[in-house]
Symmetry: C2
Subunit: 249 residues, 2 copies
């Protein structure tokens, strides 16, 4: 049973300002909650209906378990079809980005991505391809947005996300900087080497001019058909795939 104020608190976490105020966010669904439980994140409380046996989660640590009615669960869920289990998870302190941790690997850089589904899919795709660092401009959508969390399918628990002042960051970094552009060199003829950053631009506007200036290698996915553009999640995935295919040559 949840009180009105508990419901109101949990619902408020769908908004960024309340997530910041309370330092917490919501994860929904069995699989995602298991992924967060097996990560560095701290789960505070698990709310579940009698359709779920929380013992199956095999969780240890200081987690509160709270069996609630389906009606209450539907009230706090952000999903159209709630999944009988919701976790309240602590937002960790934003990790400090140590440039040396980016050596000899690839990281994705997002310049003002706005759509929660897009960044969620990007995090999931990065996790598939073993890319563990995503660096976001300060105005990129918050990854603890419930739609982002949902779209990552648990991968948010494993990928390190950083929010930075992007121009400063790219100016200082000593790594090859690749950027997705419409007029760059052919991605299929690009040698990505063994380390670097791949910068992806905003859905409508692409990369900001001041970011383009910092990109050393503008790279294009050649178009053979007639669509005006590719979705940014799709384009990011093709970059990840091209980077990783080198290791299978």
């Amino acid at each position: 049973m949840l009180s009105k104020s508990q419901i109101s608190f949990l619902k408020s976490l769908q908004q960024k300002k309340f997530r910041i105020e309370h330092g917490a966010f919501i994860v929904e669904g069995y699989k995602s909650i298991v992924d967060f439980a097996n990560s560095a994140y701290s789960i505070v409380t698990i709310y579940y209906t009698n359709a779920i046996d929380p013992k199956l989660l095999k969780l240890s640590g200081k987690i509160n378990f709270n069996e609630i009615s389906l009606t209450d669960l539907e009230k706090i869920s952000s999903l159209k079809s709630p999944q009988d289990i919701i976790a309240l998870v602590k937002i960790p302190d934003w990790p400090v980005l140590n440039a040396s941790s980016l050596k000899n690997k690839f990281a994705i850089v997002l310049d003002g991505i706005q759509d929660p589904g897009n960044i969620g899919t990007i995090i999931r795709t990065a996790d598939w391809f073993g890319i563990n660092h995503i660096i976001c401009s300060a105005d990129t959508v918050d990854v603890y947005n419930p739609k982002v969390v949902q779209a990552t399918m648990g991968s948010l628990a494993r990928v390190n996300i950083y929010y930075v002042e992007l121009t400063h960051f790219l100016k200082d970094i000593k790594l090859p900087i690749f950027g997705a552009a419409l007029d760059g060199s052919n991605i299929y003829k690009t040698d990505f080497g063994n380390e670097g950053l791949v910068v992806m631009g905003n859905e409508g506007n692409g990369l900001r001019p001041e970011i383009i200036d910092l990109v050393q290698h503008a790279v294009t996915i050649p178009r053979t058909g007639r669509a005006e553009s590719l979705n940014v999640g799709i384009a990011t995935a093709i970059f990840c795939s091209e980077i990783k295919r080198n290791s299978y040559k």
Copy 2:
């Protein structure tokens, strides 16, 4: 000005049964409407607010133009942020799939894709890569669903979509059949040749067993990280990219 019954009719087209009953669907936004106007589709009526000058569309033919209030436009829109212009478009007769039109090219086959955003993105991606034929199992989501139309960003006007009884179709076709699977051969070492079908499975379940039996080449995007799966739109894009990269060797 729209009557109550007009509003009710236009809103009803968000549901498949009314789209079938009336043989019409809705396209929203300036760019998409231009794409449909420059295609084989027939636009019946364009509804617009005074924020738009429909003459800019430079459309000819028997199209009705109907200036309406923003309030009415918001009522008939399926978008959170309506775009001041909505077209009522005729659903054409489903094209008959002529197997010879698939020779010497690639087509995407969808086995029970359910998410409108996924199929919309797949259509847009196919259009980018010049893949003009998408063949769907009968239970794949309807492409005239407003969320699909929106996600295609106008590409639906250019890509040919077919709904077929998939088992029969794959049994009869004389083309190489590739299928996305978790235990197939490495996509980066796969020679796709110059023609064939690429079959992508349902979001939760992958390919149906009876479809797997008909796949000649099971192909896998190798995982180097820890995500359990890739989004089907992402996986399809990586297949499209691998097929097309051959032409840049």
